[in-house]
Amino acid sequence: MSLPLRPQPCLEVRQLSVSYDRRCVIDAVSTVMHRSRITAIVGPSGCGKSTFLSCLNRLSDLTPGCRLSGSIRLDGDDILSARTDLIRLRRRVGAIAQRPNPFPLSIRRNITMPLEHHGLRHRDRREAVLERVLRRVGLWREVRGRLDQPALALSGGQQQRLCLARALALEPEVLLLDEPCSALDPVASGVVEDLIASLRGATTQVIVTHNLAQARRLADDLIVFWTDEGRGTIVEQGPADAVFTSPQSAITAAYLSGSRG
């Protein structure tokens, strides 16, 4: 896959601070995620990775008591402004939650219901998308015979891949993945990893992972979060190769070599 020589910014975060009920959990972070590349976010538990991700599609709005300041620009427009059309934003920026959260509907409806909602009127076209995305996440052969069964009857790993398929069906420009493989066995994890790699060049992806080997395999850019007395900050960021081979800060060096965090 050939990448554009000079990476173009897609999401630009400036001085973003987040607090829950006035408790600051992310403290003035600034970073850039580049178009069509894979940005991995790593860091110890509780340093605000999921919180950071939830700001990028304004899902943070749903958490009572969550306050944001700073700016996040998607293609130049500040998505934190009150005028942002949230439906359009979330259609452009898809997301996979840390815990699989399929709807308590059938497998089929999990994918066709959002499509219908976004105006795909033709039943045949919806069915075509259904098959295409289920194949992409390697679920088609497992569920083709029971598409009308409840999605909640699937295993955790299958549910997570269903959620991924559901997000892909809307063809988002940006995909936010919060530990997408943490509930998966090595085989399913490999399928998802290949899928993420195959979207490189087409979709801007931001992936949170605790798996450093996976970050090394997938990431074009790397962001290392750290927590300083409960306040999440970015200690290091840049092209993944550079950060992995010659980290600037001692914390990062220790964390990436596996001796801390």
Binding site: N57, L59, D61, L62, P64, L86, I87, R88, L89, R90, R91, G94, A95, A97, R99, N101, P102, F103, P104, L105, S106, R109, T112, M113, P114, E116, H117, H118, R123, D148, P150, C163, R166, A167, L170
Partner: protein, 282 residues
């Protein structure tokens, strides 16, 4: 042998005793009803109009009036209750002063004795709005009476839907209205149904509030603006005012209980269909 220490054994025995006692009382009431009431029930009793103040004839018009009053009550209270519950559970974050005010008034209303609702309904619907003694007045009064139960139980049912579903829907760019319709309400359907069952129970059992609003005319109502006698009012009248009416009062009570059970079964059935429908339709 694992003999329990005596305080535990005593508590268990007490709990069992109380449970058995309650069941026994319920069984006795039911047996008593059936023993006195069943012999009086026939097709004629269900279809004919009452004669001789209810000592002869049947309860046909009374059943019709009861169903009409219940229909008016549910058709007006359900939409209002659902809308209010959605507002409280989905749009207010439960923290605003407005939501607190609504909740406080509802809890207040739930504790008001039904006779007060009767007087209120009489003053508002029968007199001020000019609906007189009518099915409409009675149904609307009952609607006011069951609203607090319906709203609080619907709010509870919505709150019990995991917030993961709300986040999943929002993350897919699905509007709040659509996510309510497609996911949250079907999910909450069993809980909503429990509220409706409680509401129907309260409405069908109500006598005091109806005496002043729908009245006690036992003819078949020609329209919603006619007075109509509800089953509970009929039972009250037979038992208190009509010498020799006891047997008929029992028979009417059996019909009331059967009606209640049928209404409950229907409600739960519809809710189950609704829940499943979210998953498979289209």
């Amino acid at each position: 042998m694992d003999r329990r220490p005596w305080p535990d054994g005593l508590a268990a025995a007490l709990a069992w005793g109380v449970a058995m006692g309650i069941t026994a009382v319920f069984g006795l009431v039911l047996a008593d009803l059936l023993r006195h009431g069943l012999p009086e029930i026939s097709l004629g009793f269900l279809l004919e109009a009452p004669r001789e103040a209810g000592r002869a004839g049947g309860i046909g018009p009374v059943i019709v009036s009861t169903l009409l009053i219940l229909a008016v009550c549910l058709l007006t209270s359900l939409p209002i209750a659902l809308a209010t519950a959605v507002l409280l559970a989905e749009f207010s974050h439960g923290r605003s002063g407005f939501a607190r005010l609504i909740r406080a008034s509802l809890d207040g209303l739930a504790g008001v004795p039904s006779i007060v609702f009767g007087l209120f309904g009489n003053a508002l619907f029968s007199l001020a709005l000019g609906l007189g003694f009518s099915i409409l007045s009675g149904g609307l009064t009952l609607a006011c009476m069951v609203l607090p139960i319906l709203i609080r139980s619907a709010e509870q049912a919505l709150r019990e839907v995991p917030s993961d579903y709300r986040r999943a829907a929002a993350a897919l760019g699905i509007s709040q209205a659509a996510s309510l319709r497609q996911v949250l309400l079907p999910c909450a359907a069993p809980g909503l149904a429990i509220g409706v069952v409680l509401g129907i129970g309260r409405a069908l059992a109500e006598t005091a509030a109806l005496l002043f609003t729908s009245g006690y005319v036992d003819r078949l109502p020609g329209s919603l603006l006619d007075s109509g006698r509800a089953l509970s009012v009929h039972i009250y009248d037979l038992a208190m005012n009509v010498p020799g009416g006891e047997a008929r009062a029992y028979a009417t009570a059996v019909v009331l209980v059967v009606l209640l059970l049928v209404a409950n079964a229907l409600t739960l059935g519809i809710a189950e269909l609704w829940r499943l429908d979210g998953g498979t339709s289209r």
